[in-house]
Symmetry: C2
Subunit: 200 residues, 2 copies
């Protein structure tokens, strides 16, 4: 390993955190990139939600601090290094998932200097709890990505799990809460999925 | 294709842009994720530089608007959809590369509503020209990633292209210009590369 101990302690902590986070490139999700026959990883997904937030910020239901939203989205999947990706429709299956994810957040962000560890943990908790305008907008963006991918990928996980339009709508109310205009986009994608037979 | 024409024109343009940008998941770079036997793509890389900028912002040589840095980094590789990734040490090989990349930026960002197309094109030009504190810090972050990856990947492209420590230092002066402390990190990684024989 490189001799990070030769660096000022703050920078050494940051370097170790950044190396650890590279592991998100190896955490596979259920979705595939459009037109590709492979599952995408959480690093690609994290970039995509950052890009969606930048592009669609004007549609937030409430005024937001976009910088805080982008920080949240860039780190929101860090816990998957320890617990893996959990499919949105399976979240209720493991009653201990919340505690496991919290422990993972404490470990991964704990590699950082104390003040940044606290900041990143607070950002992750804000994303998870959706109790602020920024948390709600970030959640809306994170949810709509699956609509974009599945509608362009012959149904993707919609088809694989034989979901209905009603299930998809009911399970994604974070979208209209965070950004009603983005829900209009989601609805166009659902209608396309129904027409094509991707959604029951 | 989904019926984006059913949406307000602004949102329809944004949706088409976001679908197009998904192609960055299929643009391969020379580097590999740490410990993985595959080349990484420009979407993963874009996430990683966003994360580095968030984590290392305090080390910028000059005060920066971090939000603008993150926007720049999230879109800085958009031109690769049309021209592919160009290896840093090969950039001089194609005298027309600048013109090709500019045309690609105009095309890809041109999918957006006019005001956003102009904003994103200006961000991309600011990143390329490195004439602002934000452009310089973004460039420093974008350059140091290769040091992190190669030093943790048995030399990676350093070894593959038989580069010397001197070549790597000379070719990456964007790093000390944008963030002297990040150059200290890069130097630790170079020294490790020399010790291990990854760098001549």
């Amino acid at each position: 390993m490189p001799n990070f101990d030769a660096l000022p302690p703050r920078l050494a902590h940051q370097a170790r955190f950044l190396v650890e986070m590279d592991k998100l490139k190896g955490v596979l999700r259920r979705t595939s990139p459009i037109g590709q026959d492979r599952r995408e990883n959480s690093a690609e997904h994290s970039w995509q939600v950052v890009l969606l937030a930048i592009t669609l910020a004007e549609h937030s239901a409430e005024p937001i601090d976009l910088l805080r939203v982008l920080k949240m989205l860039a780190i929101h999947d860090a816990v998957e290094i320890d617990v893996g990706d959990t499919f949105h429709y399976d979240k209720a299956a493991d009653p201990d998932l919340g505690a496991k994810e919290h422990a993972a957040a404490v470990r991964v962000f704990g590699l950082l200097p104390d003040d940044q560890a606290a900041e990143f943990l607070a950002l992750w908790e804000e994303f998870e709890s959706k109790q602020t305008p920024e948390g709600r907008f970030a959640a809306a963006v994170d949810r709509v990505v699956a609509f974009v991918m599945n509608s362009h990928n012959h149904g993707g996980t919609w088809a694989e799990y034989r979901l209905s339009a009603e299930q998809v709508r009911a399970k994604n109310q974070d979208i209209p809460r965070g950004a009603p205009a983005i829900w209009d986009l989601a609805e166009v994608l659902v209608q396309f999925g129904v027409e094509k037979g991707y959604l029951r």
